[in-house]
Amino acid sequence: MDILLIIVVLFVLFAWSRALLRYRDHAISLGEFIFWTFIWGAVIALTTFRTRLSFVADIAGLKRPVDVLIYFSIVLLFYLLFRLYVKMESVEQNMTKVIREIAHQRRK
């Protein structure tokens, strides 16, 4: 088993567990959970069979192995940005609840 595959599998398991937890907390629907399961499953499948997908790399113009790392990093950064955005939204929602509660209390 190569190093890249181990790293990808570990990361995917981590990311998928986050989706599972959000689904169990009813924060995302079953459809969305299936969507993320499919996405992360595809990441593992593509990493595992990447040598057999050389024709895809040719079509995309990828010839150096380092490009895989670059593209993987871009995907990772997008994921982290997305997580950050979701977290920020959650904080804003909590702040809004407090502001709303104060507005209601002061009106009484």
């Binding site: 979701v86 929602q93 702040m95 809004t96 502001i99 709303r100 507005a103 209601h104 002061r106």
Partner: protein, 239 residues
């Protein structure tokens, strides 16, 4: 006949508690006249949500006899609307009307918004400026709004004639069903998305939008459309 309908509406208004929710941010120049206009047409339950204005919006609204709720931080029109809607429900409102503070809306349109709800034909009525020829919509605004209609259709599957019109009415039941999380301008698209998701019966009603110099200066930039689109896409991903 119009007079008869107005009388009928007034009778209905006596039986049903109609609350007008008005989000306001730095609207000291217009809020007094807006509230007076609503009072003139018999609306007594006026809720102004002062979204942390820097001017005398809250004082002017109080002088004009409105119930004023103050946000201690400016969090946006969507959040202010939700604060007002929650408060109206808490105060026993049967029907809630959302109304802009900048003088763009006409109180004369409210009976038309209430009618389908009072007759049980809809739970929410949405004002549409494009169903009435009296609204002189500027060209750029018209293009952006039409784009918004298409985007809303793609996102929510509902084809409307106007999507970002702040003049709307909802029954108590519908107000309790709506889960609004968009604090800023994307709330208008979110309401339509919620209508679709919760299968809330709705109807579009022709209304007039007055594009005064003041309202145009206060109104949102057309570039906000991109922000709204982005937020709606994210909402679809994380909901």
């Amino acid at each position: 006949m119009k007079q008869g309908m107005k009388q009928g509406m007034n009778q209905s208004k006596n039986q049903q508690r109609v609350f007008i929710v008005i989000p306001a941010y730095n609207e000291e120049k217009s809020i007094g006249a807006v509230l007076q206009g609503l009072r003139k047409y018999g609306y007594q339950n006026l809720i102004v949500i002062n979204d942390c204005s820097h001017d005398n919006t809250a004082a002017r609204a109080k002088q004009a006899g409105a119930m004023v709720l103050n946000h201690i931080i400016n969090i946006g029109q969507g959040a202010a609307l939700k604060t007002g809607i929650d408060y109206a429900v808490q105060e026993g409102a049967d029907i809630i009307v959302t109304f802009d503070a900048d003088g763009q809306h006409d109180p004369q349109d409210i009976p038309m918004l209430l009618e389908p709800i009072l007759k049980g034909k809809a739970e929410i009525t949405l004002g549409s400026r494009f169903l009435k020829s009296t609204s002189q919509v500027p060209l750029l605004k018209r293009i952006v709004l039409k784009g918004g209609i298409l985007f809303t259709w793609l996102c929510s599957g509902i084809m409307l004639t106007d999507t970002h019109n702040g003049l709307r009415a909802m029954s108590r039941k519908a107000a309790q069903q709506l889960q609004l999380r968009q604090n800023r301008m994307a709330h208008a698209s979110e309401i339509i998305d919620e209508i679709h998701r919760k299968r809330i019966p709705f109807k579009e009603v022709p209304v007039t939008i007055r594009y005064t110099k003041y309202a145009m200066a206060k109104g949102q930039s057309v570039f906000n459309a991109f922000d709204i689109a982005f937020k709606m896409i994210i909402r679809k991903l994380v909901r």
